[in-house]
Amino acid sequence: MIENRPWLKLFSHFILIAGVLIVALPVWVALVGSTQSAGSFADSVPLWFGDQGVQNWSHVLFHAAGSTLQIPVWHLLLNSMIMALGITFGKIAISMISAYAIVFFRFPFRSLIFWVIFITLMLPVEVRIVPTYQVIANLNMLNSYSGLILPMIASATATFLFRQCFMSMPGELVEAARIDGAGPIRFFFDILLPMSRTNIAAMFVIMFIYGWNQYLWPLIITTDDTYYTLVMSIKNMLSVPDGDIEWNNVMVTTLLAMIPPVAVVVGMQKLFVKGLVDAEK
């Protein structure tokens, strides 16, 4: 610190604590609300714990998410996990090998291919939603895990990141590998993969959050609730006449849908920050 100003320091802490509390406020309300009976929401949202916590959570997790969604949330959690991990591993795998080809080989149309991958940045699913839906419908991929995962795994961001990472590696590595008689496949698995561990882990954190939080895509391509994912199912629980919303169940489901990605961010904070900063380079 440049100089000692105790009041300013106190003020800084005060602002930070206020910020933390305001940011946490909605989660607090959801947490205490998840322990209330449905009737407790008649006049106002309760601001302190009720006594229905265990019942609500176990009912939602193992029995049914709510009266409009007769499917236990553990099943939706499982679907979300399959989708998120599928998207994450898929993205990392195909981006890594395409970045590998672009950096370590010279072949005709190399830069054209690079531009085709770049173009995907300009076509987020939100802007081409109707035609993409029609393509999936034509391919008979509605209501399937492959329909949830495959369209999401092309990634310009991840390809760029791995390209940067590979380009920073010394060329002598390739030379040494070639002298020792290692081919490209061997080089990839024995040298490149171990050397990019941290980058892969950082990408994993970012892509897991991206995959888990998909909303619009699962919403339009799943009509069969065995393929519902947790985040999108919340829409279903809210689409009831005003006043009939089972707020306690909605809050349990919302919290359950938040816990896995928040745990990843908090538990792997260093990798998360690295992934975030790298992804924007």
């Binding site: 080989f105 173009i119 802007v127 081409r128 909605v250 990843v264 924007e280």
Partner: protein, 291 residues
């Protein structure tokens, strides 16, 4: 790098999966959107008539489209402005404290992981006109809150929910930016008698301007395209189109209005906007590298 593997066919095999996915799920639909934008489909989807630029002409004569553009502007710039201002303030404070910096960071960054749709639900609960604690408090001090009926209040709600999620991201980038400012500069200013506020406005803030500009672009892109969930779970574009952003309108017209030509024309316009923003983002990053 100047050493390459000599194989000729292997690299094509390696890029193939990415290219197949891109072709099927990106290029094909984008091509379809281009085609549909020039056709009009009847209500049953049985026949298509080529109408040239008809869909685009309709679009740019539609007052609702201009309204949606205005809504998108107000929404995006509000989210970017408040997200950046609040995050910068918090980051400057966090940069001052020595004890507990890491704890503050953890407690401020987790909302990044919350899905936009869930952020919408969480803030709806607080602002529910009948039972939400904040809405009830506002009622008591004389502000009648009902975001289902009042367009401005609906806009405020979606801006709050979208900003809440974005503060964490901006905070991390500002904190990194602040830590990169050489201490000697600040010390020199302090020796010359500049107080903390003067130092912030004359030294810190100008030095952060590349970060701020970068965040402005990223935040606008976020507000444009990643906030679909916030709007869909809370206001669904209403009341009376007051939160109907361009991205939400594409979905609404295409899936609920079943106007595939109009929706495709809107998709094309949006693709042009994303393209422009991507170029700006990359241009800017190139410049940053030259420092």
């Amino acid at each position: 790098m100047s050493v390459y593997f000599p194989q000729k066919k292997l690299p094509y095999l390696l890029v193939l999966p990415q290219l197949i996915i891109t072709a099927i799920f990106f290029l094909w639909p984008a091509g379809q959107a281009f085609k549909q934008a020039f056709y009009r489909e009847d209500a049953f989807g049985l026949s298509q008539t080529f109408i040239g630029f008809g869909n685009f002409i309709d679009l740019f004569q539609d007052p609702l489209y201009y309204k949606s553009m205005g809504v998108t502007m107000v929404f995006s710039f509000s989210v970017a402005f408040f997200g950046i201002a609040i995050a910068l303030w918090l980051a400057v404070m966090a940069d001052r404290v020595i004890r507990g910096k890491m704890a503050y960071q953890t407690l401020l960054v987790w909302p990044y992981a919350v899905a936009p749709a869930l952020a919408g639900v969480l803030w709806w609960i607080l602002f529910d006109p009948n039972i939400g604690p904040i809405a009830l408090f506002l009622d008591r001090i004389g502000i009648h809150w009902n975001h289902f009926l009042n367009g401005d209040q609906a806009m405020i709600l979606v801006v709050i929910a979208a900003t809440w999620k974005q503060i964490s991201y901006n905070f991390l980038f500002f904190l990194a930016g602040l830590q990169a400012i050489p201490r000697s500069l600040i010390e020199a200013a302090a020796i010359d008698g500049a107080g903390p506020f003067k130092r912030f406005w004359d030294i810190v803030f100008p030095l952060l301007s590349p970060t701020t500009f970068f965040l402005l672009v990223v935040n606008l892109v976020y507000a444009f395209f990643d906030t679909f969930g916030v709007i869909d779970t809370t206001t669904q574009g209403g009341p009376d189109g007051s939160t109907n952003t361009l991205v939400y309108k594409v979905f609404k017209d295409g899936f609920i209005g079943l106007d595939s030509g109009g929706s495709a024309a809107q998709s094309i316009v949006l693709m042009a906007i994303v393209g422009l923003m991507t170029v700006v983002q990359f241009r800017f990053i190139e410049r940053k590298v030259q420092y």
